[in-house]
Symmetry: C2
Subunit: 204 residues, 2 copies
Amino acid sequence: MTAGERSIEFWFEFGSNYSYLSVMRIGEAAARHGVTVAWKPFLLGPIFKSFGWESSPFVAQKEKGEYVMKDMVRQCRKYGVLWRQPSVFPRIALLPMRVALIGAAEPWMGEYCRRIMLLNFSADRDINSEAVVREVLQQLGLPAEELVRSAQTEQNKLKLRQQTETARTRGVFGAPTFFVRGEMFWGNDRLDDALAFAAGNIPG
Amino acid sequence: MTAGERSIEFWFEFGSNYSYLSVMRIGEAAARHGVTVAWKPFLLGPIFKSFGWESSPFVAQKEKGEYVMKDMVRQCRKYGVLWRQPSVFPRIALLPMRVALIGAAEPWMGEYCRRIMLLNFSADRDINSEAVVREVLQQLGLPAEELVRSAQTEQNKLKLRQQTETARTRGVFGAPTFFVRGEMFWGNDRLDDALAFAAGNIPG
């Protein structure tokens, strides 16, 4: 296996709590396995709508939703990740997702995603606000105004819709989802298996 | 913590593929943690119906269902558990579940459950057949005819319905589900966390 093959596609959405866990973990974990991360932001809303759902299954199914918030307390403790239950769930994250699409191959992508996620799941901030997204980009020393403008172009909006449609046609039904050499792995609970497969340590 | 407190409630159903993984693993894993298992068979069907679902979400949601069968191949390989995709899914398991209710506190419970599960998920047999259930009980040297008769009494049928209703009122929405000192853990992916909590090694 060449180094170029040691990569993982990471499909995620800033509104998704289990994507939060993976965003916080994947940088360090992938590096440890010698695996590179291909960041794939996509929108969960249109995926859920394609199943005839109005919102997250954690909202539609009350029992599961209540459990998931308890699970998050324990999972965050297990992984050493900060946690405060957002007062709005799931949060709309259209603007930061559009910026993520622009930054997907940039060196600042990982840190940008971690900061947006921490604002949602630890600081309980409205991550879809232009002021909040600018703030994060400025903290990273990036041209915030220019990036936000590029993110809002019709071309970039269309590109995010297309990436979401690609997710759907590839059988993605939730987030986070990982692809390694065409094999799909669903959920933060499969991140370690997916990385081990990417590193060539386990069969698919 | 006294030894009596080191126990885990294991809510499961023979038709459930992720229950299969936990049934195969829990005996050894719980013993390793010094934790005793309280076996709690219950019916998933009435739980799903209470959500307005006609069948398993793995059937209703095609994309997820297809993924789950691939996930099972990998998970079974990871845990060293046999796997053959059942030709009927989910299988009705009313009779073996009723027998499980009778056997829940008996020393033969673990081996009985593993054999029923292997027949479903490795031998692709109809586990709701009286002949199949008798066969398993006979293999274990048990009075098969008497047990099957007791399992089919109105009293025992009612008891399984009541245990299922208890699951529902406690917020169970899928299987396997574990309870440790009142804390709920959902899914085979949480078995290790639940056992560590039962053993007092991690906070709840």
